[in-house]
Symmetry: C2
Subunit: 249 residues, 2 copies
DNA sequence: CGGAAGCTTGAGTAAAATCAAAGAAGGTGG
DNA sequence: CCACCTTCTTTGATTTTACTCAAGCTTCCG
């Protein structure tokens, strides 16, 4: 079938999709609906007003934008980029399928980071006001939302931990284990996967130079701990990689 | 006056204190009550069931404990310590007056870190169920809670940013600016203060060795950017320090 | 006074950043 | 389908930086 046509159909299907499809959403259990039964999920119906496609490298929202919406990642992934006063960019966070982004803006009413799609992605647009209304109507939705926010915080915390470790190979190892864990939590293949980040992105995220990242990858390959070909990664023995991480410093 | 007596009086005053003192609390504007008027704050009355003193170095809660309570720091500060499988300790987060700790446990129902008081501290004990009930009764309390959680997340994010930067002096500089900003947000002196952390704690937090931290401090002193004597820090010109941070790499 | 932490300083070593260049991969248009 | 361009990635040689091990110092406390 023609590629263009497929894309057109894809757009069509999204355009025609009713916003209130939480009940049929494939990532329901990762997202706000987790733990709710079908009847309760239908209570989320009008929380998501639309779905927004964002192409790879394109911006979901800019640093400085007012905080009015949250975004749940229906598919794809994103990075949060912080621009410091001197113009340097730094990756503050990564978010995958099922994660909610944009919550940080609640602190000040202004988004502190720019969010960029790492691949072609689809975001569920959640007006914060809608969500608050639903929470006040159903306490369970509130606890689910808290659980979701806490999960995202914990992801970030874990990322913090391996970022602070000294050794370059250990950082990359920690990053790969972290990413693998994220995939496992999403019931995706976690021993063989494709990283949505470039070497530069990884370097920015873990706090190394890209050459050092590249060398660390080849070194981990030489140790037969991973098989890396570009962004494609295979972990033959996750347990072995994990114990190597613990053993190294 | 006798020292023991003073402590006894202190304990007395806390023991006798009604739990519902949010309305009179000195850190109200940092905490759940921020943005609420006095009448609304009184709605928080029974959210805090007690206040708990924790001495320096003592544990507020252990990693693995069930998630049942949140804790707001009425005074003092704390560190979140993660113990990895191999027994190594790492500082995952710092929390100061007005911050809420314990929320990460909401993700899995189990606390992922151990929280230790950095100085003699007082924590407001908030049963999560109480909070949920209040949130469902008053939507404003929900938004305030979100704001509070987002603020804590943002603090951690900012810490992540300087931790990932290459240079040791820059990391320490970033840490000091971060800490100073935290104090400023709490309307405390932010150009002259006492760090509640030892050099070892700082090292664990920013991902350096303690000798390197020490050398970075003396180097920043030599550059007249700070005056450091042990834990006591003075920043003669915050703007200068900030621009040095931006200029360095 | 003596002991124990915590902090600083020094010299040598290991590691990552830097500068530089070449090799793969992916997309575009002929 | 191929040649060409751009972007991403790897590798090498050198310099800079942080780690390591070691010793001395300060501060606090019994």
């Amino acid at each position: 079938m023609d590629h263009e046509l497929l894309i057109a159909l894809g757009k069509q299907s999204f355009a025609s999709e009713r916003p209130n499809h939480c009940a049929q959403c494939g990532i329901r259990e990762l997202c706000l609906g987790s733990g709710l039964d079908l009847h309760q999920v239908s209570g989320l119906a009008d929380v998501v007003v639309e779905r927004r496609r964002v192409e790879q490298g394109k911006v979901l929202y800019e640093q400085g934008a007012p905080f009015t919406h949250l975004f749940a990642i229906a598919s794809g992934s994103s990075k949060a980029v912080a621009r410091s006063d001197d113009g340097r960019l730094q990756i503050a966070a990564l978010a995958l399928r099922g994660d909610v982004v944009g919550f940080l803006g609640a602190a000040s009413g202004t988004q502190p980071v720019t969010v960029v799609a790492l691949e072609n992605s689809v975001f569920c647009v959640i007006p914060y006001r809608h969500l608050l209304r639903r929470i006040s109507q159903n306490q369970l939705i509130g606890t689910q939302f808290h659980r979701l926010v806490a999960r995202v915080m914990q992801q970030r915390q874990q990322a913090f931990l391996f970022t602070a470790s000294a050794n370059a190979e250990r950082r990359i190892c920690g990053f790969l284990l972290w990413f693998s864990d994220q995939l496992a939590a999403r019931k995706q293949h976690f021993t063989e996967f494709s990283l949505p980040l470039s070497r530069t992105d990884i370097a920015d995220f873990v706090g190394l130079r890209l050459e050092t990242v590249s060398r660390a990858f080849t070194r981990l390959c030489d140790l037969n701990l991973i098989e890396a070909k570009g962004r494609h990664i295979r972990i033959p023995d996750v347990q072995a990689l994990r114990s190597w991480f613990s053993a190294s410093r």
